[in-house]
Symmetry: C2
Subunit: 594 residues, 2 copies
Amino acid sequence: MVMRMSQLFVRTLREDPADAVVPSHRWLVRAGYIRRVAPGIYTWLPLGLRVLAKVEAIVREEMDAIGGQEVRFPALLPREPYEATNRWTEYGPSLFRLKDRTQADFLLGPTHEEMFTLLVKDLYSSYKDLPLTLYQIQTKYRDEARPRAGILRGKEFVMKDSYSFDLLEEGLAASYELHRQAYTRIFDRLGFDYVVVQAMSGAMGGSRSEEFLALSEFGEDTFVRSPGGYAANVEAVHIAPPPAVDASAVPAAAEIPTPGAGTIDALVTLVNESVPRADRPWAGADTLKNVVVTLKYPDGQREPLVIGLPGDREVDEKRLEAAVAPAEVEPFGEADFAAHPELVKGYIGPVRLADGGHVAVLGLEGEAKVRYLLDPRVVDGTDWITGANRPDTHVVHLVKGRDFAADGVIDVAEVRDGDPAPDGSGPLELARGVEMGHIFQLGQKYSQALDLRVLDQNGKLQTVWMGSYGIGVSRAVAMVAEGTCDERGLCWPRHVAPYDVTVVSAGKGDAIAQESERIATELAALGLEVVWDDRNVSPGVKFADAELLGFPTIVIVGRGLADGVVEVRDRQTGDRQSVAVADAVAYIAEQCQG
Amino acid sequence: MVMRMSQLFVRTLREDPADAVVPSHRWLVRAGYIRRVAPGIYTWLPLGLRVLAKVEAIVREEMDAIGGQEVRFPALLPREPYEATNRWTEYGPSLFRLKDRTQADFLLGPTHEEMFTLLVKDLYSSYKDLPLTLYQIQTKYRDEARPRAGILRGKEFVMKDSYSFDLLEEGLAASYELHRQAYTRIFDRLGFDYVVVQAMSGAMGGSRSEEFLALSEFGEDTFVRSPGGYAANVEAVHIAPPPAVDASAVPAAAEIPTPGAGTIDALVTLVNESVPRADRPWAGADTLKNVVVTLKYPDGQREPLVIGLPGDREVDEKRLEAAVAPAEVEPFGEADFAAHPELVKGYIGPVRLADGGHVAVLGLEGEAKVRYLLDPRVVDGTDWITGANRPDTHVVHLVKGRDFAADGVIDVAEVRDGDPAPDGSGPLELARGVEMGHIFQLGQKYSQALDLRVLDQNGKLQTVWMGSYGIGVSRAVAMVAEGTCDERGLCWPRHVAPYDVTVVSAGKGDAIAQESERIATELAALGLEVVWDDRNVSPGVKFADAELLGFPTIVIVGRGLADGVVEVRDRQTGDRQSVAVADAVAYIAEQCQG
C-alpha cells in the first residue's frame, strides 16, 4: 500500500526545538518522528514508531536466536519484591512511586530483576529446567533528574531486558557470553560505531559487567581505552597501585608555616622556597590533598567522608558517585565545618603533630571520628606535604604507614589521557559514548534475596546464578539517527528506515502525477514500503522534506519525464542517476533490496 | 525453528487458581499463558504473549485498512490537559495519580482523548489535513475497585484506542461508520459471538455511542434486545414514556392510615382492604415508591436525591450510576435523615397535605429543598398511592400534574424481560456480555475544551468533530479463550493460536524421538509454528498438557510408528486420523493451512 504524503500524519518543522542540544533530537523532532509531551516524555509519531518497530524486530530476532523466550511483565509493580532486595529504598528519587486506591504501594518498573527472579521461582524447581533465558521488550520508567536529548534519556522509554538463570557459575559465564555475542550482532546490524567497556555494576549488584557504548561526542559516559585493548568506563577503572616505598631515609615530619597557600600551586611555590628538596623541586604530586564531602544514604543518614589523593589530581565526580552508591554525594558546607572543628578548612590533614607524637584527626586511630579513604597511589612509605590541621600551617615529610593511616582505599581520582592502563596495555585515551547496552553477571544477589533455589542432580537445593542484560531500544533509535544524520536531516540505514523509498511528484500536470503513482504502486507491489509525495507544494519544499525525512531512496518524477527519464537519488551517498522511465521500477527495486 | 517443550517456559498446573471465577482465567493460568503479579496485574508468559501479538496484528491490519495511522503516546502523562477537560477530577479514584521528583502531578493514562486532541492541534491547522484517523495499541491503566477474572478486567491492560478528526459532523458520522465496520471485521476474525448495542457515553461525553459486547454469562454488562432489532446496554435504555392520562375523574387526594405498611406488598394488601378500588384491585404498580440516595460529586459536594418510580420496580444500580456520572451514588443514612426531618423514612412522598392545599416536600415548588426526579412512566394525570410524609400514613389519589410536580425525569428503573422495546420493535430480552469494543461520536467536547480548530475552505476557523474508539486487546485474548475453551482446557482458533501444531513423542526409544523431530522440523520448514513435546514424562501427561495448552493440531508419534502411522488429532473437533508416516507432513500442513 502506497502512503500518500498528503495523508501521512507528519509536519516537518523549519525551526529547531528550543531544548535540542544533540542532532538526533533536533532532526527527529523537526522531521516529525517524535513529539514532546513533557520533559523526558515523548510521543512516537507514525514515522518514528515504524523505526522503533524495526529496531525492536532486530533485537527480538537476535534474542530468539540465543534461545531467549519473550514474556511481558507489567510496568506497574507491587512494592514488596523491591523491598526484599532493598531497591525500593536504594533506587532513591529515580523511582516513580505511587499508591492505589487502597493505599497499597506500587512502583513503575525501572528494571525487573526481582520480578523475573520471582517468576522463575514460582514456576521452576529443578536443574533440568535450566539454563533459561527470558526477555521482554517493554516500557520502563525512571524519574530522571535531568532528562535530556529527546528520547536519548527519557523518563519513559523502551528497553529490552533479559535475564539468564543457571545452575552453576560456569553456566552464568556461558549465558553472559551468549548475550555478549547477541549484543554484538544487534549493534553491528544497527550500524553503530561502538565499543565494549568494563563497567560498574552499580545498583544492580553482581560481579562482572560490561557496557556497549556508542561513540558520541554528546555521550554522558566517559571511557578509556588503551592500544593493548583495555577498555573501561571511567567509573570502572581500578588503577594498579604502585609498590610500597622504602621511607627509612625520609626525615621526620615537621610543621611549616604556609600563610596564604590556598591552592596546591601556591603551596608548591612556597615549599620550594622555604624547604627546598635537594634532589628535585617539590611538585603538586608531592602534596596530599584532602577533599571532604557529605555522604547521604538512602535511609537519610549523613556522614562526612575525607578523600586523600595526590594534589595534582581532582576527584572525578562520577567515579565518586559510582563508588559510594547507593549513597549520594553532597557538599560539605559551612555548617558541617562548624560541627567538625577538627577539620580546619584549607588545612585538613590526617594527623595533628603534638608533643612528641601524632594525634590522628582522620582515619582509624585514636579519637578520629571522620572516615578517611585514600587514593590507591598513596601507598606505604610515600612522603607527603599535607595540611596540619592548624590555620596557615602544613606538614612536610608525612609518611603513609609511618605517620598516618586510613580507613581504606577509594579509587575516585580523575583518569587522565596518557595514564597507564591498569593491565599494562599502554597509555589510556579518553573518549565519550552513550550507553546502548549493559550486561551484568548478577551472581546470586537476587536469587539469595528472593530465595530462588532449584534441586540439583543430587537432590540438593542450589541457589541459582543469574545474569541481567539490557538494551535501550528507544535510545537506539536516537543513536542510529545520531550516527547517520547530516546537515540536511535524517539519513536512515535501509534496514531501519520507516519507508524504503519516496516518489516525489516534482511539478504540476497529470503526466507527472500519473507516472509517480504508477511507479509508487508498482514498487509497493514488489513489497517495498513507499511514500508518494503527492502534495500540492513546490518541488523545492518536497526535496527539502525528502532529505529531512531521510528515506534511503528518493525518486524524482519531474521535468525529465518529457525526455522519458526519472531521477533516482541515494540519500546517503548523494548519488543521482537518470533512469529511463521504463526501467525505473526495476532499477529502484534493485537499489532498495540490493 | 521448532520449540522443544522441554525448553518452553511453561508449567501447566493441575489446580485452579484460588481466585478464578471464569473459565478463561482458570485455563489461561493453568496452561501457563499468564501469571498473576498483584490483583488485576498479570505477566504475559511466552504462550500468552504470542496470542496477544496475533490479536494485536489483526487489530492493526483492520485499523490500517480504514486508513488509521499508528502512533504511540506515553502512559505517563502530565496533569494539565486532563485538568482542562475536568477529567483529572471526574475520573475519580479510578485514575492512577503520581508525582515526579519535582512534585509535578502526573497520571497513568486510562484513555488519551486529550493527548490526541492536543497532538493534532499541535501539528495540523487546515481542513486539507482532514479527515484523519490516528490509533495506538498501548498499555493503559485504571485503578479498578474490583479487578476480576484475570486479564478480563485488570488494572494494567492493552488497548487499541483510535481517534477520528473531521471538519464536519457528517464527516464524523462517516469516520464512525468506518470504525464500526472495522470493528465488525475484527471481532468476526477473532471468532466472537457478539452483539452491537447502543451505549451510554459516560465520562467520555459526546453523543452517539455503541458497544460491541461478547455474549457471556460471566459478563458484567447487561443488555437488552428485541425481535425487531433493538439492542442496547441496559444503562442506555430510554423507555418510551406513555401518553398523559385524563385525571378529571380521579377523586381528591386523601390521607389514609397505614400503620405497619413497611413494604409495597403490605401497603397494597392494606389499601385493598381499607380503600378498595371499584374497577380492579390496587397493585404494586399503583404505588409511587420514593427512593432517597446521596450523590457525591467529584469535587466532594454531596446532595440528596429522591427518585420516584412505580412501586413494582426497583432502581437499577448500574443505570442509576450511569445516569448521575460523574457523581457517585452513596446510601442515604440515618444521619442524613436526621439532617432532613422533612423526609420521613418509609413514608416519603412529594407533598404533605395541609389545610385545603398541598405543601411541596420534594421537587420544584415552595419550600422543597431536596431534588426530586421521576421515572418517565409517571406522566401527568397518573394516579398514585404514596407516602404522606407523616409516620404510618399514605396518600391515595395523588395525581401527577394536579397534586405534585418534580424537578425532572430520571430513567433508572430496572428493565425487565418482556418490557416493550422503546422503538416498538417487540418485547425485550435480557442477556449478559463483556464489553470488547466501544465507539463514540465525541462531537466537539474535547476540541472545544482544548481549542482544536482548523481553517475551512473559506478561511474561517472551525471546531473539529471528533470520535473515539476503543478495543480491549488483552481482554480479547481472554474472550477468545472464553469462547473456545472446553472441559479439557484451551482450544485456540488457528489464526490466534500461539503455535499451529504440537508433535508429541508418545513413548520411549530413538525411533519415536527421531521421527517426531523430523516431522516437527519439516513442518517448521514449511512455515508452521511447531512445538515438539520431547519431555521425559509419560504419554498421558503429554496428552493432557497438549489438550490443556490448546494448540489446534496434535500429532501423536507413538506405538503406531511400528505400523508406519502417526495419529493426527484436531483439538477442536476431537477428530483423530491415522496417517501414514510418509504422508504425515503434507497431511498436517494441509490441516493447519487449509
